[in-house]
């Protein structure tokens, strides 16, 4: 019983961290406005932490709560579909790679970042019925790789220091 309460508290903290990171990210002005959709993906630090510490189901739950809350707080309903598609494709790929045990946190995070963009572009292509958007993917994938490295390094450091049983 005590363990369960502890777990609930940890998951709640992790969700709160993901939300705060999402808020911090909205404060950073866009560095490169020529291509929309470039983001660091700071909340992914919390998601990767959850994936490694609590496992896939909890990471998925935290990710979903985060998207719902962020949409209610700062976004509009249109963004919801893109976020969900990106976040879940990314989480799925990260979970598979974590299981494969081939990459460290950094490699997992890079794939997560790239597939986040892939999911969003695919949704945009579906919703707008326009396949020309695929061209964006190259630029977005490059930005996803770079930010994935940064997020991965942060996540690895956090995981090394905070050990949740």
């Amino acid at each position: 019983m005590k363990l369960k309460t502890k777990r609930v508290a940890h998951i709640g903290l992790c969700t709160a961290a993901a939300l705060i990171l999402a808020y911090v990210e909205t404060l950073i002005p866009p560095i490169f406005t020529a291509v929309p959709g470039i983001k660091i993906g700071l909340p992914n630090i919390a998601i990767i932490f959850a994936l490694y510490s609590f496992g896939l189901p909890w990471a998925a739950a935290i990710s979903f709560v985060r998207i719902v809350a962020v949409t209610l707080l700062f976004g509009n309903p249109m963004i919801f579909a893109y976020s969900v598609a990106g976040a879940f494709l990314s989480l799925f790929v990260m979970a598979v790679l974590k299981k494969a045990d081939f990459f460290s946190e950094v490699g997992v995070s890079v794939c997560g970042g790239v597939f986040h963009n892939v999911g969003q572009i695919l949704t945009a292509m579906l919703l707008l019925e326009n396949t020309k958007l695929g061209y964006y993917l190259i630029v977005l994938a490059i930005s996803g790789t770079v930010s994935g490295v940064l997020v991965g390094i942060c996540s690895a450091q956090v995981l090394k220091r905070i050990i949740v049983k």
């Binding site: 929309p36 460290s104 019925e129 326009n130 020309k132 994938a141 790789t145």
Partner: protein
């Protein structure tokens, strides 16, 4: 402990190889796409997935693109598209994020400006 270190070093090596090859492939692809795209001649406008209209890129003009309440907030959506000196850009828009307005002017074949909240896609064709 020793074994764990070796394993984690192996994973980091995999990371490095993967990231470097991914970046190289992406940059080569990006350069390839950029170089092999000629200037376009027509600016096409799609609203809600349907072709709305197309214009010649060499004629200067300014037009209003309105979609009847795509986001359901009761106000009409309005984007102002400008074609000027062979380039097209979004001058202003009532969408919440303003990403389409921030987008640089487009002129090459296949380039596009997207306004997600208003479901408007502007792209250049040959």
């Amino acid at each position: 402990m020793e074994e764990k270190n070796i394993k984690s070093r192996g994973r980091m090596k995999n990371d490095l190889i993967f990231i470097l090859s991914l970046l190289t492939i992406l940059i080569i692809l990006g350069v390839f796409f950029y170089l092999f795209r000629g200037e376009g001649s027509t600016v096409c406008v799609e609203i809600d997935g349907k072709l709305f209209d197309s214009f010649s890129i060499s004629e200067n003009r300014e037009m209003k693109l309105g979609t009847p309440d795509a986001d359901g907030d009761g106000e009409e959506e309005l984007n102002i598209l400008v074609i000027e000196n062979g380039r097209a850009y979004m001058k202003s828009a009532t969408c919440p994020d303003g990403i389409c307005v921030a987008h640089r002017p487009i002129s090459r074949d296949g380039e596009s400006i997207v306004c997600l909240p208003h479901k408007i896609v502007v792209f250049v064709e040959e």
